[in-house]
Symmetry: D2
Subunit: 402 residues, 4 copies
């Protein structure tokens, strides 16, 4: 098979026109999201260091982490953390290359602590135990970086996918979490922790939203207070949705496991605003995809983007690029209800000439015009030609990944 | 929304009729698969212990692990491992309940070591470093187990999906890996390690198979020997495919990054038959789905099944059940080209009455008869009524999960 | 044997009159000293917390730690740390008691990081990896604390020893390290790291001082610079000794392994001023005794004091008390050239009534008067009566322990 | 100061003639002894490997370990282990040298597991969690090994001491533990665990023996059974001492913290025969010295011998050699009541020409004849000439070190 671009018009109902849709988002304080965002932040900081020291990003692959929950004891009015949250950081980086050495340990530790202190109101360095499991990058893979004269080669065989447009359900889920974790909401409801999971099931035009939200026990005086504030939050979220008008019919539940009348056992309290302080562990690549959602009825690529290096790992680059391509195609080509873009490449092959790009447009009649095909080709060509610019945005951390 | 069963016929081309398909399988010795299989084996052994001691499975959730690659040095004729493979085992189990205590540490360690010794020819206990990060299960979740009189309640809010039929591409990928890791193949090609990744891109009726296979250096005398044996393997795999006749046109590549003439650097050698001995790390839930494949163009559920408890975690139970339902529906209902089955439930709700089951049949005319709908309802009802029997198969480890 | 006080006059030459004496001190930045001081600081902070919350110190025993050296690469002008220093913190504390819970994790982590940042100029939180291995205290031992009505009981069977007076060799060693780690010296010689080991062999009236001192590579421009500054330091130390007049004849060596003319290999450089950044590991109880020295020709108790709880662990309390008793006896009783004081108790016995106190006075004639015996008894009695006050000084961290 | 031999006759009462003596031994199953013996066994196995592969021992220093107690729950009739014993193994070894690579990870892990399975009846691999913290040896220290043409150089500055003769108290303590951990005793009293600590206080001719002994709960049916068996053991130990006739007056206590009538809380039970299964942690160098005892009233060297390399680390070699020298001198020279031998050397100096050997003989008149001096010189000279043979015994593991 020659490297190529393939366009396969699909005659199928677009996602937003299907009767059902299931979409999930794990908020910033969810253990899986923590893993994704911390590891990606580390990759960003390390990339900057590599560039500063050597003019280019060196090989690294930091898409492995395990957050092992700490131990804490909740109390109304404020509980205590007993054992720290342990974040185990993997997996490979370049420690030395061509006469340069890199203070990987420092950069990683500083970036990780900083991430927590900036993103989670109640997690400080004294709540954290960082285990450093970052080893030296294999020479086979480092060699991909060494020989950049002929362009950068892919350091894995992978296939990724992106799509457009975003559905209303997806928007509703993403915006709900953003709202719940916004400065305004936290100011009105400080008892709302950053560990929030929003799950939506759309049944035709009706949305069922199931929200899991860790409460911060220092702001909750009693069981009664807990349920009162939950009721008030529910009203606030309902009002938010009324204003946004995503759906007319909406049913919202918070903390489904709660049971009134049995004291603390019947509530969802945490000390630090995240279940990571005591009960829930996390990993990289187990939460949101690069569209910041888990859009369950859509296909998903095989790769976790967070923490991968932004110049040779197509599991990161194509992941983001596929969404960008789909958005541009959908925006610029008339008559496309939905479009899926797949990118596939094999290890060692140049990243700017993938083995295959498969574009699957969905139109009302299941066809695309030859003019549209030409425009699609153009969009793909332009983006491949500018892939370094996208890599640059990944290096700088401009692109959010979870 | 009331709990319910929804049937949404889709007018769309079934997967096997689309022009492109991308399917991957990470073999038994791949670091991600190792994590999945070890953690699930531990869950199985622990479940058996719980049943033996208390008559029921106790709460546990072992779907987190991080394998940090060891360090080794390859040599033609046999290299050496310098540092052990570190497997970090998370995350929660029940250590004591109702006057019973459970030797969790022993069971976990024994099961993990046994798994390696049984499944990977060259990994022995002396190559392993096990880090035990299994904490005590949260009381909120343990309570789900305590009150089983009213049936078992879901311990997470999740949506899962299964589908049928299996496509030829999927079969080809799964069988290729099984063949490469079969006793016969290993006997003919002992230099073939267990760490095998098979990636397939189907373009219409043409299959491109990209295989990554760790060679075992003790059986490889020289660079020349390596490439000779690789050539012979390629012929053997080609012959296997010729006999199986999955596809007429097939293009197979092994170890795409290899370069002849530069010595060991240009080959893919390992000491223990897995890249875990030196370069590649892994996690739970990052490899194969419960159909043992990564079928990239199909939707995927939001949950890693491996290691989850088999009686309350719908992320495991529904994961398997959705595939079973899809297979039964596809087999029993005439005229269905393909079917997708979704199950959705919220935490605390009974596992045998999910909030929603969504069946999406694909037929040539985009419709299903009312008779077919009735039969589908029947199949769902039967399976929900017998969900305990499925759980039993998960407890016993009868169902392979990765 | 009844609990009792025994006086055994010894007819033997006092230490300072012997022909030979060997004394060592591991400075504040030595990996063993780091372990001692950090763990003791943690014990102090935890004790304060326990008192604040419950009015009394709760059981803990933190006399176990392992510092695993990091990895760094030295350069003239400033090298880099590649992997963090890992400090593994053991072993037991009380996390909850009588309805109180204690944020052990936070206190431990905060105290450890603070210790480094205050005591070692170049070690910051980003150079550290803290591994928390502190478990829950055994109930058998916690019970010692629960029942304090009858006074505190010893939580181990141990024998400790102290002695007086300090010899000139001991003073010279202690003061040499204090001088080398003083603000003044560091200001004049910033290239002198905190990791300093002073070993002295006194042969009659001649002192051989062997100093190992980690240089801080950012202040060392070249091999030549290194040897020049070492020469200048040597002169400064010689001048210090000339002023102090400890010994007329003195021979001082710095970094005995150095070899000129082979570049960096022949020097002793570190990035952070401590060999912990790359080569030397440490443990609790392997360095200085509670007199802050390793006085090799004197007997030593069987216990590491650092990190032990200050109210029931006689391995800490008696360790300090024995030296205090010896000093008071030596100071107050005429004619004693030297005195050794031993304290022995068994687990479960009250700390203020040890099974045995053995006082070994050395006088010119090998005897003590009955008046002296009476005064010794008085001193012992007073100190036992005020043992809580000593414990208070240990709780507050007033007493330096390594 | 020139390298030299110094003889300083001391006019002082020998240890055995003093009124008091305190001697301790931590038995084979004590957490500190476990650390010592495991790490030394690892050093022995690694040394054998180095010799086999390269003809010589390569640099290593494995005298750091931290055993973090597991977690278990005791029951009369047999409790359970919940979490494994974690043994953290430090600190440095040579992984590669001169084209050879060494499977350090395998050797270490295999030796550690084997040690437990051979020495502690109830600890198997499934009770263990091994954490590998062994880094690469520093090149400065490796260089000591590289240049062996001029003999081996010391890789630390240290002073060590040995003495003779062994006192009756020391013999009694050592033999008591050996008896309690003998096959015969274990066969009669299987409930006696390997974790035994013997503490002796000799007051003139009276011995007070305080024994702490972990009971194995599977062999103890009830509180009553526990105290009955303890009584029977006490009788057996008393009978052992009666036969040995070490002392006429002897007072023996077992498990001083026991209290009858309060159930399990008042007993000292373990699941695995060592307190390491649940409560007590350990370290290298915190237990027995190389005479296998803690002879508290004698001076002690500054070094832990266990785990150090047997060809250049004088902290191991001199530690053993000092005792050997003292024994030979005491045995061969008439009229010596006791003798202490000190060896001192500085890093980089040849191990067979120490900077100083100080011999301190104690005779009735505080003198030694010139003939005796000559014979002492002879003994020292012979032993230094044959130091390689001693190193050979250390390499082979023939010498017991804790």
């Amino acid at each position: 098979m020659k490297n190529g671009i393939f366009i396969e018009p699909l005659h199928a109902p677009p996602t937003f026109r299907r009767k059902f849709e299931i979409v999930e988002r794990k908020g910033v304080g969810h253990p899986d999201t923590i893993c994704d965002l911390v590891m990606n932040e580390i990759s960003v900081e390390l990339s900057k260091l590599y560039i500063k020291e050597t003019g280019m990003v060196q090989h690294h692959n930091l898409d492995k982490a395990l957050l092992a929950a700490g131990q804490s004891e909740n109390r109304f009015g404020g509980g205590k953390t007993l054992k720290p949250i342990k974040l185990i950081l993997g997996d490979r980086a370049t420690f030395a290359q061509d006469g340069h050495t890199f203070p990987v340990g420092e950069v990683v530790t500083r970036a990780a602590i900083a991430w927590f202190e900036e993103n989670l109101r109640f997690v400080e360095k004294e709540h954290l135990e960082l285990q450093f499991e970052i080893g030296t990058a294999a020479s086979e893979l480092r060699s991909i970086f060494a020989d950049q004269s002929r362009g950068m080669a892919a350091n894995d065989t992978s296939a990724l996918v992106g799509y457009a447009p975003v559905t209303t359900t997806e928007t509703a889920v993403l915006e709900t979490e953003r709202h719940l974790n916004s400065r305004e909401f936290k100011s009105e409801f400080p008892e709302s922790g950053e560990d929030i999971k929003v799950m939506a099931l759309r049944n035709n035009d009706m949305l069922e939203l199931t929200i899991a939200m860790a409460f911060v026990d220092r702001y909750v005086d009693s069981e009664r207070h807990y349920f009162k504030r939950k009721e008030e939050m529910l009203r606030a979220i309902t009002e938010f949705h009324r204003q946004k008008s995503y759906f007319d019919k909406i049913n919202i539940t918070i903390n489904n496991l709660d049971r009134e009348g049995i004291g603390m056992e019947g509530t969802y309290l945490t000390v630090l605003g995240t279940s990571a302080d005591s009960s829930d562990s996390g990993q990289v690549g187990r939460g949101n995809r690069v569209n910041r959602l888990i859009s369950l009825m859509r296909p998903a690529g095989s790769e976790a983007a967070a923490g991968k290096n932004p110049v040779s790992h197509i599991g990161k680059i194509y992941n983001v690029l596929c969404f960008k391509l789909a958005e541009e195609i959908h925006k610029n080509i008339d008559g496309l209800e939905e479009v899926f873009v797949w990118m596939y490449n094999t290890i060692g092959n140049q990243i700017d000439s993938p083995k295959a790009i498969i574009v699957q447009p969905l139109s009302a009649d299941g066809r695309v015009t030859s003019q549209a095909e030409k425009e699609i080709q153009e969009i793909l060509k332009d983006n491949l030609a500018n892939i370094n610019s996208l890599c640059g945005d990944l290096v700088s951390g401009k692109v959010k990944l979870a």
